[in-house]
Amino acid sequence: MEMERDILNHAEIEREKFLSQQGTTPEKVIAQKRYQTAEKIVELTVKREKEIYRTLTDKIDQVVCHRFLGPIILLGVIYLFYELSIVQGYKITAYTWPILAAFRDFIASILPSPGFVFDPLLRTISLGVVDGIAAVLNYIPIFIILFALIAIMEDSGYMARVAFLLDRVFRYYGLHGQSALPMILSGVFVGGCAIPGVMACRTIKDERAKLATILICPLMNCLAKIPLYILLVGMFFSAYKGIIMFFISTITIIIALSVAKILSLTLLRKTETAPFVLEMPVYHLPTVQGVLRRCLERTWLFVKKIITIVMVVILIVYLLMTFPGIGKDRKVYYENQTNHQIQAFFNKIGKDNPYAKILEGSKLTEFAIYRDDYKKAKMGAKSKEAKRSVDEKFSERNGEFFKIVKRGKYKIDGKTVKDNYALKVNKEYKKLNRERNRIKRDIKEETIIGSVMGRVGRSLEPVTKYAGFNWRINIGLISAFAAKENSVATLGSIYQSPPGEEKKALGDRMKEKEKDWTPLHALAIILFMTMYPPCIPTLLMVRLESGSTKWALFATFYPIVLGSIIAVLVFTGGRLLGLSGMQAMVAFYVFALIVTVALGLIKSKDVSEEYA
């Protein structure tokens, strides 16, 4: 059909004609006429009985949007936000966690029971997934507070003022005034969480700024990155703790601003931007109902969507870190080791010990589970009352086992007896259990090293050595992919203290094994961690908020590339120049700062002001 093309051509010609004749665009005239018509209608329909020149809103704005007072108030609000949602929210999780733990225990109880050293696969995997989900659900109190606070800020009209105040700086970096809140929540001051951060990007109307903000949120310092910082700072920078923590928290903002600018100049260049309509709505008092409704709605949406996807993704990562598992002969080797230890245990307690029969064969595994459960229950019981009820429960579950875990001190008909056989078994079992745990740890370590992820870590060593990472660090960093908390836990299992020796702090154990490490090594690892790709729940959130898998994948890979470049730059560069850790840190800081300021000066086009 030619007709439609004709119409388009016709419209095009008429538009051109209008442009040349009137010297202005039709859209400007259209907007103008609409405003004029609105003005006329208001003139005809609205009568102002008394002119109230300065409304309450104006008075508040005089303070809140004040050149100097405004930013100070904003800082206060940001602090309050952070304090109420992240800090207080975490405190609430202390009360909600037992609920999740009870749920986990329930799942654990219906799964096949654990073995002495080898747990059934179904159990390991199921619990891995349950733990992953519980870790995400644990954030719910934080989300509820957060969403409520955001709703209050939106409904009251303060959000628009925040955007106004920060837009002046942020616009130089392709961001928007509203980008501030997501960045704060993600952890501008060390310790946030990128999940609510990315989620808060919803309020940004400008597509380009929204995407840029979503993509830089994971660069902020979330709570889970902190343990590794603390470990490495304690090892190599213990004299400069304050300085280096300041460095970590500010360098991330500096780099994030640069990243945002580069993204908006390149990949996001074609993303549409909204003309910046700065509107200052009148302050309203938010209604309790409105705030509650919005906050619960958003929380529910989160729970529904995240949980279903998280389950699948965690499962996959878990499998990648478990399979193919240790070989058959290695399994036999560990089984032999275990049997050897068990044999030694029975030899020590002696044949005449009446408990030897009780613990024979599969009974030993049963006892191991019983003892683990008992220890756990005792740990959870705080009051004397609770402790007594735990004792009662376990003595009912198995009276003979109970005698052993009580170290031979128990009551018969109200009389306390001392059972030396039970005491002996208790002591010897303690030793056996230590060995059992060691073997379990060894199996776990070997599994990780031999797994798909572990192999990747080893094969990367020739490349990562330029950043100063050996395969052990590689595995630690790779394991952090599922959740960053893992990094220290994995390192902990890689750098174990040899059996029999006194337990040392992880930092000391690492120093012992990596004698050639310098602060430069630590700095490179820290910087890589600051740029670490988002954890899986965050990635899913990125996918959800950006609306495309493409961006979620990008959010995974660009931090790896960026982090590697920075780590190599600092490590290899620092080494070539013969810089110490602190010198390299200062040099890199200055470099990053110059780059960021320079980028801020580049003008990005199409900051359109058509509607202004």
Partner: protein, 247 residues
Amino acid sequence: MKEIIVAVAGQPNSGKSTIFNMLTGARQHVANYPGVTVEKKIGSYSYQGDTVTLVDLPGTYSLTSYSQEERVARDFLLHEKPAVVLDIVDATNLERNLYLTFQLDEMGIPLVVALNMMDVAEGRGMKIDTYKLSELLGATVVSTVGKKSRGGEKLKDAILNTYKEDGLQTGYGVACMGCSACLGMSREKGSFRVDYGEELESILMPLEKRLSEDPKISARYPARWLAVKLMENDSEARRLVQKVEES
């Protein structure tokens, strides 16, 4: 029992969600608009035997295609063709809010205007002649105070009436009060137009005519709206015409 789809539009901070909640109460759920991350709130109520389903459009200042929200709102009105559009207007900020009202009106869907936050407006010494406003806009105007749940029944009534009248094609026709200025605007219900000035109208009118004469286009999109959008050089509007051509 019919299901009447009503789109709820309004600028940010116009009290759209309080009106939405007032009308639907707890009967609502949240989804996402397909393919985007914009929340879509849907609620319903029964009124005089009819079920009215409200769809909350994102709060926008305008209906261009600059932001995802604006596009979502626009696409919904264009493609889902709701029976009525309920436009929530902040009475204290009438002038700016009308900017969106005009654009909604251009989309050719029967309009009901909720003049919200009337109490605040009155508190500021503003007196709004709703009858006159209704006459000028050619749409029913209802004063509401969403926060105090005032005006809900009247709004439901207005929505149903507007729906029925439009369905029956009776033509409402508010009687001319003989006012001094009519702004050259017709007072027939649903035939309000912004006068874009002689120079532009001399282009818009023939273009609109051509668009309405194309059966494929006029069956899908309001001609006046499309004409204005084409003159605004709106890429989405051009795409829509091209798409019609391809089909």
